[in-house]
Symmetry: C2
Subunit: 227 residues, 2 copies
């Protein structure tokens, strides 16, 4: 476990399962700064509650919690997550193509915010729970995107600044993520994944299906409630 | 001049001189979408007025104006532009080092926002009025930063999306920028550059000094008022 002398790392924490497991991994060797961004997604109140529960679990001090809100992704629209007129589809059978829940360039927006914060507070690593293979097929979840982002940081920050984005679960399957979370004692009972609902998870949207698949593969019961 | 069949380009328009001249350049061959971001900078009300005047001048329809506000850069702090406790210095003599007005990774944040918008509205170019040589020495004004950003867009957007960030004035001197603006009929009288004040420009901050140097080199009178 980390202690007061451990280096500081920022974790982008949505309140979902992947970022919770990512926080668990980061906490092994780092003090945590947790960043949570509301961008007008349908379930943002529920996700904020999940974030706070997870931050409390890891005893993150207020000075290292950055909860912030951006309006432009909702106003820009183009995604079922932020536009009420675009339906959140049921999970796709084949997994090809880019789903309606893709928020254009969202992870780049979030990583820029985290990089600004990292440069000011002196964090040298930014953890993000992106998942490539066993994911929704978003272009900003691919390894090459994160490699390009690290080159961008190198080019666009102070010469003495060295910040690296790390993606510790990018090549794990959902089952491996659940297993890793259980092994590390991550508080999966606090996490929220459903794109549609805030009281009981729908169990049928892309995000619920991927989560349920993960628990099934890991042979573990999902501790949250489904409709 | 562009017409209704011209391709659509987004211009990041702060309300300052450089982005105004950049809009003038873009307007030669493109319909304009103008994006303006308030990030808690001291003079943001004045800059918004300048933006609106410039957008009116170029007859940009409301549907192609995106005025939006982000709070995280102010809350993150670390810059004299967004933190009341850090002084806006007078212009530096030597021009070495990175000044206190540097907002960490600001241009990356702005370009991500513009990229999200471009992907939704189908714009293929994003113009930004970054200036490398004759500038304040910000790391995110260097050509290599924009090259890295274009690679990031390629890696992080839909495969069918092709968006390019272009920096038409990056190698111009401030004098050349003023001259270009005058030649293209850019409404420089509406622009605002001062980091400190909103009524009359201070004439002594970095940004005022660079602006005044530009008008002097171009042999043109600056149409705005100074204290």
């Amino acid at each position: 476990m980390s202690n007061n002398n451990s280096p500081l790392a920022i974790v982008l924490a949505s309140g979902g399962m992947d970022s919770c497991v990512t926080a668990a991994i980061a906490s092994q060797n780092h003090r945590l700064g947790l960043m949570h961004v509301q961008y007008g997604q349908l379930t943002q109140q529920r996700e904020l509650r999940a974030f706070c529960d997870i931050a409390d679990f890891y005893r993150v001090p207020d000075s290292l919690r950055m909860v912030t809100s951006i309006e432009h992704l909702r106003r820009i629209g183009g995604s079922a997550l932020t536009d009420d007129t675009i339906a959140v589809e049921d999970a796709r059978a084949g997994g090809s193509g880019i789903p309606a829940t893709y928020v254009p360039f969202r992870n780049a927006n979030l990583l820029c915010m985290a990089t600004s914060w990292a440069e000011v507070i002196g964090a040298h690593r930014i953890f993000i729970g992106a998942v490539q293979e066993d994911s929704s097929g978003y272009p900003d979840c691919r390894r090459e995107f994160y490699q390009a982002f690290n080159r961008l940081i190198e080019a666009g920050t102070r010469p003495e600044t060295h910040i690296e984005v790390v993606t510790p679960i990018i090549h794990l399957s959902k089952g491996q993520i659940v297993r890793k979370g259980v092994d590390l004692g991550a508080p999966l009972q606090f996490t929220w994944s459903c794109y549609r609902a805030e009281e009981e998870a729908c169990g049928t949207c892309d995000s619920c299906m991927l989560r349920l698949k993960g628990f099934r593969e890991a042979g573990v019961d999902d501790p949250i409630r489904y409709a």
